[in-house]
Subunit: 256 residues, 2 copies
């Protein structure tokens, strides 16, 4: 029976992940001592101060250390009657400038940021020019080599649809359902910025960064035509390219 006195509140969150260990402390790094906080713990602690109540945030999914978000979604249940606008203002003044609550709304009791999500859209950004950028240093993968965008676009078509994406799953991660549906891959070069947008109903751990690492090798002419499809069908992580750096990745949007 739903708790009628509790509101289910949903936040849309923008963050620069550079100085955080990720949305949440990752399981496999529990043994590693880390001095940087998680985004989740940072927001939960601010909410606790504002609402005088212990709050558990449910996010659409985790993001890794150094990965950013322009539209992470997370909801929580609270007995507090504080107006939404005041919660948002209080959060934005308590939180560090690395995190911004860009939207706040009351959602249905059964809304769940992760289970209700239909798809997620990630963007990977590469700076493709001879010299780096002083302003985007933590937000792009700097690539001072020629890169063939057309070749990347052609090869990327093999990713569309429902596949077993095990070849692009982080090796240190335990088995889970490796079948995902990629709905859209869009590779665009505008001036010096090359962006790779991937929308899917779900992602395996490190999947976007492993796909990007492979696509970059393709763009640099280091893989024969048809490689991406072969790697995908092999389900063998060892055949794929390296994991691209976290700083180029951002969760753009979660669709419900």
């Amino acid at each position: 029976m739903p708790d009628k006195v509790k509101r289910n509140i949903c936040l849309t969150i923008e963050y620069d992940g550079t100085n955080y260990c990720g949305w949440q402390v990752q399981n496999h790094s529990k043994s590693v001592s880390t001095s940087s906080p998680s985004i989740q713990a940072t927001i939960e602690s601010a909410l606790r101060k504002i609402l005088q109540e212990k709050i558990k945030l449910i996010a659409s999914g985790r993001t890794d250390a150094g990965v950013h978000a322009l539209g992470q979604v997370a909801n929580f249940h609270t007995r507090s009657k504080l107006p939404l606008e005041r919660i948002q203002k209080a959060l934005n003044s308590l939180l560090s400038r690395d995190i911004s609550i860009i939207k706040i709304e009351v959602v249905a009791d059964d809304f769940h940021s992760r289970f209700s999500a239909k798809s997620k859209l990630y963007r990977y950004t590469i700076l493709a020019r001879p010299h780096h950028s002083a302003f985007l240093k933590n937000q792009v993968y700097f690539m001072p080599f020629p890169i063939d965008v057309l070749l990347m676009q052609k090869e990327a078509r093999a990713l569309l649809g429902r596949h077993n994406f095990k070849a692009f799953q982080a090796t240190q991660k335990k088995e889970r359902n490796p079948f995902k549906t990629i709905k859209r891959v869009k590779i665009v070069k505008s001036a010096d910025l090359l962006t790779i947008d991937i929308e899917a109903d779900g992602f395996l751990y490190n999947m976007v960064r492993n796909i990007v690492g492979t696509l970059v090798e393709i763009g640099r002419g280091r893989r024969a035509p048809g490689s991406l499809k072969k790697i995908l069908l092999s389900k063998d992580r060892k055949l794929a390219g390296p994991n691209a750096p976290a700083r180029g990745l951002a969760l753009l949007k979660v669709k419900y």
Copy 2:
């Protein structure tokens, strides 16, 4: 007599000024102990390592602590015969990611980054929306209040032309020629970003930030129409608005 064995080399430089005490240690802060390095000393030290020669950089002008540049210009004379491309590559790999050498070229012997400049273009950026930005935190002045852009544009017209700009000069700075010619003022709001571009043949110390601080008060409805002209004519710094924060300011371009 020009030294025929010396080349005069000109750099175009992009930098994020957040972690620097400015282009150069400012005279008036010589007594203050500062732990952050200057942009100039950082680049000179890298050049010394690369060229095995003591190098003196001549910039188009100083920028303050926290102020950025997309197109600072600085030249130096050297006996080194190292190809330009190698100097640029070596600089960009030695320098921190906060500084990027975006162009390098040989210029005429008598070219002087400061004296040869015809005008400089500064941009001040304001983020005008209720919540801050996780990504632009060090590059904008965050303004969560309504602001009347039309009013700012109207008042700013009084700045155009040759005037005594003493009213907008930092009080701690010693007297120098206070007459400058503002060639262009362009105030544009696009989405949440309000940019104020000012091009002049020269600027007094803190002039752009003092003008912006005044324009912001105008945009917030805190000054009567005609105030900007009155302040300008008064030559009285006490009548102008506060000095806007350094982080919103960037030297966009120097024209020769």
